[in-house]
Symmetry: C2
Subunit: 443 residues, 2 copies
């Protein structure tokens, strides 16, 4: 297997660092628009490479917005697989470039949505991944696989959902992805500062787009941003965090492959972060269209054009560089409700927690990007071994969850040494009956 | 009198529209970096000119950051007075340019402050106006006048303070400027939208700098932004608004010329606006230093440098253009506490209210910029008539308040037809004794 990773930001860098401990592939080309960044990733990965078969990691420059450039680079290196690790705005160009190169394709975020022109907070317009699923038959006919949404969320969350449907439930009411953390970033004075732990561009995109929900008897529909806040009690010492509906790939993927009455995604943004996102939106600083602004470069006066959202990203610290100053844990998981194999009401929270201190010590990668990056590497390993195989545009839940979850938990060098947990919770009364607050049981 | 107005933004434009109804000057040159903007102001003013002595208003282009350009333009037109109506970051270049041209000078905001390097929220560093007052003897020796802070706040507020000291009080505890409004801006759908009614650049500057307070036995000192929130009940139907300490020129001006135990400025920002400003500061979007950002201009790709605060200003609507969509009133005033001429405790709120509907109908100017602009025009008229005169760097409270307040209230064509109000309030107990909430009396 020869892998082309497009993008060496936080996640691409962690992909290389994780892959350096695995022997299932011959070569990994790490390409970025900023080749110096790719060089740094490749140097770190080669220095940590356990395969000891010569330098397996190679840096390259590529413009992710140019499908022909992706194709040319993939062909040059004989890439069998292209792993897309850039901002979701470049999904379609990398997806197309991989297809034209005859390579299989993986990503961690799907093609972008466009709100319904008249009723954005009631009906879906163009949905996440629609552009990719439209190409499904082309990929299938060519016998090539596009494994989409194969990060942690979407990705591991979809694997959890598949596992629950196959092995834990006879009937599923809701597949509810719930993501939360207790991360803080410390400033120079040791006091917490505001610093998002993941790409602010992507976070704004997913949080301010109309959140999508799926129900079996209604199909996909949307609600206003930050709808239905609920306090979810996260395990592992993280504790209660306010979660709200967010547009996310799981809601588009799971119903295509799994049976459930309802599919939701709620993100534990916390009150402070929700307030920040609301303000950015109120001011129009979330906008991506170019705005004319006075140049602040004395050597090049006049007017320049910038995207306000790019400016927001530029003033915030690079999330991938925050690892040393970050404290806490991040938790990704799926709350599954319904009836167990015995027909009794059941509620489980399948989840995976990464402690930043651990991922920094082991990989030099902060926990949020590490937790995202480990899943596509693991999926590539299952594909390399032939444990997973398929053709067409498929989500993670199209594959058997057991070998994935086993490999994730198994200690190194067999597995990735990062256990997941099944937590039984006290089932809530079914919808339509009187409700009382749920009391989470311990894991 | 020949006046050079530097800047034809909201306030400069309103200055010309107000001046068009007065006959005390021969010529007004309106200069802007964007000459098209100056042209629009001049066209509107000439069309409304009541003097009918030929076109009194002339447009010009000028770079306000270049003192030599200010001097050259002032000389070219034989300007006797330069009125500075640009962002406060250009105060020193316009101030210097006017001096070198041998012209008198007026502004509505003073030279910028710099926080104390170690204890920014306890001690003052470089204070507002320090750079200007340092030149006082030079202006005095030259027999030239620099009338600084001659807008509404500072400006009319300082005139109110002088009036209270001269005519209403025997002993002043506090001169407390209090500014509030009930303005809303309606969007295309008729619903209120977020749109600041004054330059966001200036608002960020004054609200995020350490607020300054003066006490007779302590001198000037600073506190953290948004300190000591209090709900102030504004008259004229505006009602209660949350006010917080803000860095403002009155606190630097009044103690230089008037006797009081304490001088404060509190701005009725309201909770929503305070939250927005806090968020901008948390994210670093209030910063003025250049930040490198990807160009969003396909014709000029690469990296450009912009000031984040300029980007915030660029995404928000131009406050001067909001008049048609604005509803409500703005109130500027000074709460004076102490002992009246009879020795009894007294509390008065001297204030001036402008209804946006009135200023739009009369002048085509929104109320906040109109209320700012009327005061320097009126001061220029008093200087032209010789009612006010002086040399050196002086604040509005260095001059007799009575002719100013009389001219403001008197109906046109004698006065400006915009009455002010003296509202008696129930005196609060003196500091150090038990306090009960004050109950405002009606005006």
């Amino acid at each position: 297997m020869r892998i082309l990773v497009v993008g060496s930001g936080g996640v691409g860098d962690a992909v290389a660092r994780i892959a350096a401990r695995r022997v299932f592939f011959e070569r990994m080309v790490v390409a970025d628009f900023d080749v110096a960044r790719a060089d740094r990733t490749v140097a770190a990965a080669n220095a940590r490479d356990l395969a000891r078969v010569g330098p397996r990691f190679v840096a390259a420059r590529v413009d992710a917005s140019d499908p022909a450039a992706i194709t040319a680079l993939a062909r040059e290196h004989g890439a069998t697989h292209v792993l897309n690790a850039v901002d979701p705005r470049f999904v379609m160009s990398v997806f197309q470039g991989a297809f034209d190169a005859g390579a299989d394709y993986l990503d961690m975020a799907m093609s972008l949505s466009r709100p319904h022109p008249e009723r954005p907070y009631e009906e879906t317009g163009v949905k996440l991944g629609d552009a990719q699923f439209a190409a499904d038959s082309r990929w299938r006919d060519a016998g090539r696989l596009a494994l989409v949404g194969m990060g942690v969320e979407p990705g591991l969350s979809d694997v959890f959902a598949r596992y629950a449907v196959d092995h834990l439930f006879s009937e599923v009411d809701e597949l509810g992805t719930r993501d939360g953390a207790d991360l803080v970033v410390l400033g120079d004075d040791g006091e917490p500062v505001f610093a998002p732990s993941f790409s602010i561009w992507t976070t704004i995109e997913e949080c301010l787009n109309p959140p999508v929900i799926w129900e079996a008897d209604r199909g996909w529909y949307t609600v206003p941003p930050f709808s239905e806040p609920e306090v979810f009690d996260f395990p592992g010492g993280i504790g209660p965090v306010e979660c709200v509906h967010v547009e996310h790939e799981e809601v588009l993927l799971m119903p295509r492959f799994l049976g459930a009455r309802k599919v939701t995604f709620k993100y534990g943004l916390g009150e402070e972060f929700i307030a920040v996102l609301r303000t950015l939106h109120t001011l129009g600083l979330d906008r991506t269209e170019a705005v004319p602004v006075r140049s602040a470069d004395p050597a090049a006066p006049g007017s320049v054009a910038v995207s306000p959202r790019d400016v927001v990203a530029a003033v915030l610290p690079d999330p991938a560089a925050l690892g040393e100053r970050m404290r806490g844990k991040t938790c990704a998981g799926v709350l599954v409700t319904g009836r167990g194999r015995d027909g009794e009401p059941r509620e489980v929270y399948l989840h995976h927690i990464v402690d930043n201190a651990w991922s920094m010590a082991e990989y030099g990668a902060q926990c949020v990007v590490w937790q995202t990056a480990v899943n596509p590497v693991l999926a590539l390993e299952l594909l390399a071994r032939g444990v997973w195989s398929g053709a067409g545009v498929l989500g993670p839940e199209a594959f058997d969850a057991v070998p994935f979850l086993d490999l994730l938990s198994a200690p190194e060098p067999v597995g990735y040494g990062s256990p997941w947990t099944l937590e039984e919770r006290t089932p809530r009364p079914a919808a339509g009956t009187a409700t009382t607050p749920s009391t989470p049981s311990s894991a």
